[in-house]
């Protein structure tokens, strides 16, 4: 059911960060600004509520914020400009072998992240799989990410020799990337899934068609600007 709802109420891309409600509608947009000035909201609470003109959700936002103000430590840390990430072990290995990776530091779990040029993707993959210093013989997953201005594909590699992992990132210029199915056959389904949900074409893939969505689905659901335009789905609207 929630599935249908999502198709009906696609989110505007710029609402995504702000909204906490499940189904954004016009009246619910107001409180979304509130969390940022939680403390101020506390003072104006009473007058707002007596006025009652405020939509009911707004009242909710304030009272819960009021409550939330006590454990202040939940506030997100302000971001300082991070120092340029240190090159990791595998980033250096790639650099030493004539590739041009961009070091992205480590993720929260300590896994090294490397950004590589999409043109080099297949060579890098082959190198990482066959080189004795890396031996990444297991592709765990392929994930697409829509950064609004570009589409990125994340490859999570795991080595059954050294038990280490590595995250490769590649930007899909023109929504295209070379396929790595020839390097890791398991990429077949994972790339199909990424194509299905993000519309990234993997060149050289043997059988690139939709896998999770119906084959006649329109659009790519996990893109941030996705809207259902399929006229056959209007019956969903209640």
């Amino acid at each position: 059911m929630s599935n249908e709802k999502e198709k009906n109420n696609p989110q505007e891309p710029n609402e995504v960060e702000a909204s906490l409600e499940t189904t954004p509608s016009a009246e619910e947009k107001a409180p979304e600004e509130k969390p940022k000035k939680a403390v101020k909201a506390k003072k104006s609470e009473d007058s707002d509520e007596v006025a009652k003109a405020a939509p009911k959700k707004e009242v909710a936002a304030q009272t819960t914020e009021d409550k939330a103000a006590a454990p202040k430590e939940v506030a997100p840390k302000k971001e300082e400009t991070p120092p340029p990430p240190e090159p990791g072990k595998y980033g250096e290995l790639l650099q030493a072998n004539g590739f041009s990776p961009t070091h992205l530091g480590k993720d929260a779990k300590g896994t090294e992240m490397v950004d590589i040029k999409s043109t080099e993707l297949r060579e890098v993959s082959e190198f990482l799989r066959d080189n004795s210093a890396s031996k990444f013989d297991l592709l765990v997953y392929v994930a697409g990410v829509d950064w609004k201005d570009r589409l990125e594909v994340v490859y999570y590699l795991y080595s059954t020799q050294s038990f280490e992992s590595l995250i490769l990132k590649a930007t899909a210029a023109d929504e295209k990337l070379p396929s790595v199915t020839s390097v890791w056959p398991t990429a077949d389904w994972h790339e199909r899934e990424t194509y299905d949900l993000f519309g990234i074409t993997f060149e050289g893939h043997p059988n690139l068609k939709r896998i999770l969505m119906p084959s006649d689905w329109l659009g790519f659901p996990l893109r941030k600007d996705y809207k259902v335009e399929d006229p056959r789905l209007v019956w969903n609207e209640r």
Partner: protein, 405 residues
């Protein structure tokens, strides 16, 4: 019969030479009792021999990744249970531990042990259900009732702990929702103590049964290379002889503090996959037993008594059930990204989260172990006999909701 099946040369050469047969396309599913969910297999047959098989998935696609875009992390959490409903503690662990890593939340030791006990119990229930249905696929019906009987006892434990039998929603960022009920550990110990007898009982019925042996030994041999290339992980990979278990190789939670073995097979046939899973249940029991003995603070009743008596040491960090109490309604993890893989009963379960400082995640990616495990079916079945299809499919233990997410 399966005995003759092993004697037929691979690829069925003599059939093709002698008789001029047309290929036949058989459609299995989407609604088929043996597919454990909704899976369609388009099978091209040459006589009895499978020439090609094309799994069609997506019937259970519930857009779990899209749902994360419109929900705060806490709102999203209950829906994770539905990604993989037979072992949802693992999904919760993957999710919660990623967020904890991004937000650098500290997790008390007691919580880690509770998580470890629940996850291992969950592994047993999952393997038990697999055991029952796998034998049902092979035509044996009583093991299923036995497996469900034992599973029921563990589900009852879960119900006491979390209030739900399958959709637990129990882990929280930096802790768990509530401490164990008083006396819960004793109940666990009781179940764990009587379980080995039950396992012996199953083995008496199944493990040496000649019909079962004929239908599994030498059937569906998956080489280690094929398994790795196709991304197969978990017990199915270990049955092929690769000793890869994230609990051992990349310990998370408190798995480095308990002692257990990683069972491996050698040939990679259906029988090995059966044996590895069976052995894994015994190893899980081992882990649970150690965890019960080692859990900081012991049973809740004891801890409560100490607290009531004003014992200050009973309030230290490691005995809490929350590292830091956060306000769940407005919780905003800092900006960052993290990726966790955990060893679920079916293999690597991955969760990749990107947060952008808002209450929602910018992107959540689930890597279901079954997704990759299912993709090996096509190369594996090529040239094998059609009657073995369900035995092989059952033995790789695929759960469809996790495939489609």
């Amino acid at each position: 019969m399966a005995t003759t099946a092993t004697n037929i040369p691979q690829q069925g050469v003599f059939l093709e030479k002698d008789i001029d047969t047309n290929d036949m396309v058989v459609n299995i599913g989407p609604q088929h009792p043996s597919t454990h969910g909704v899976l369609r297999l388009i099978t091209t047959l040459d006589g009895e021999i499978v020439k090609n098989i094309e799994p069609v998935i997506g019937y259970l696609h519930r857009s779990k990744e899209k749902m994360a875009e419109s929900r705060s992390l806490y709102q999203y959490q209950p829906t994770i249970d539905r990604v993989e409903y037979l072992s949802s503690f693992f999904d919760h662990y993957a999710f919660v531990s990623t967020v904890e890593a991004i937000a650098e939340l500290e997790v008390p030791k007691r919580v880690q042990y509770i998580r470890m006990i629940t996850m291992e119990l969950n592994r047993i229930t999952s393997h038990l259900l697999w055991f029952g249905t796998f034998l049902l696929d092979l035509g044996a019906s009583s093991p299923m009732f036995y497996a469900f009987r034992e599973r029921e006892k563990i589900l009852k434990l879960f119900e006491d702990l979390t209030g739900a039998r399958m959709m637990y929603n129990y882990y929280r960022f930096g802790g768990v929702i509530a401490d164990m009920p008083e006396g819960w550990l004793d109940k666990v110990r009781k179940v764990v103590d009587e379980f080995p007898d039950r396992l012996d009982e199953y083995e008496a019925i199944v493990t040496k049964n000649p019909i079962f042996l004929d239908r599994t030994i030498g059937i569906g041999i998956m080489s280690a290379e094929m398994a790795l290339a196709n991304g197969v992980t978990g017990p199915s990979l270990r049955a092929s002889g690769i000793k890869l278990d994230l609990r051992k190789t990349n310990p998370y939670c408190s798995y480095d503090e308990v002692d257990f073995d990683v069972p491996v097979g050698n040939t990679g046939d259906c029988y090995d996959r059966y044996r590895v899973r069976f052995q894994e249940m015994r190893e899980s029991l081992k882990i649970i037993r150690q965890a019960i003995d080692k859990i900081p603070g012991g049973d809740t009743a004891e801890l409560n008594k100490r607290r009531a008596a004003g014992d200050e040491t009973a309030n230290e960090m490691d005995l809490q059930i929350y590292g830091k109490k956060i306000n769940l309604i407005t919780y905003k993890p800092p900006k960052g990204e993290g990726s966790t893989i955990v060893e679920s009963p079916r293999g690597f379960l991955g969760c990749y989260i990107i947060t952008d400082g808002s209450p929602k995640a910018y992107r959540i990616k689930w890597r279901g172990a079954s997704f990759s495990n299912l993709s090996v079916l096509a190369p594996l079945m090529k040239g094998l006999l059609f009657p073995d299809l369900m035995a092989i499919f059952g033995s790789i233990d695929v759960i469809l909701p996790e495939v489609d997410r």
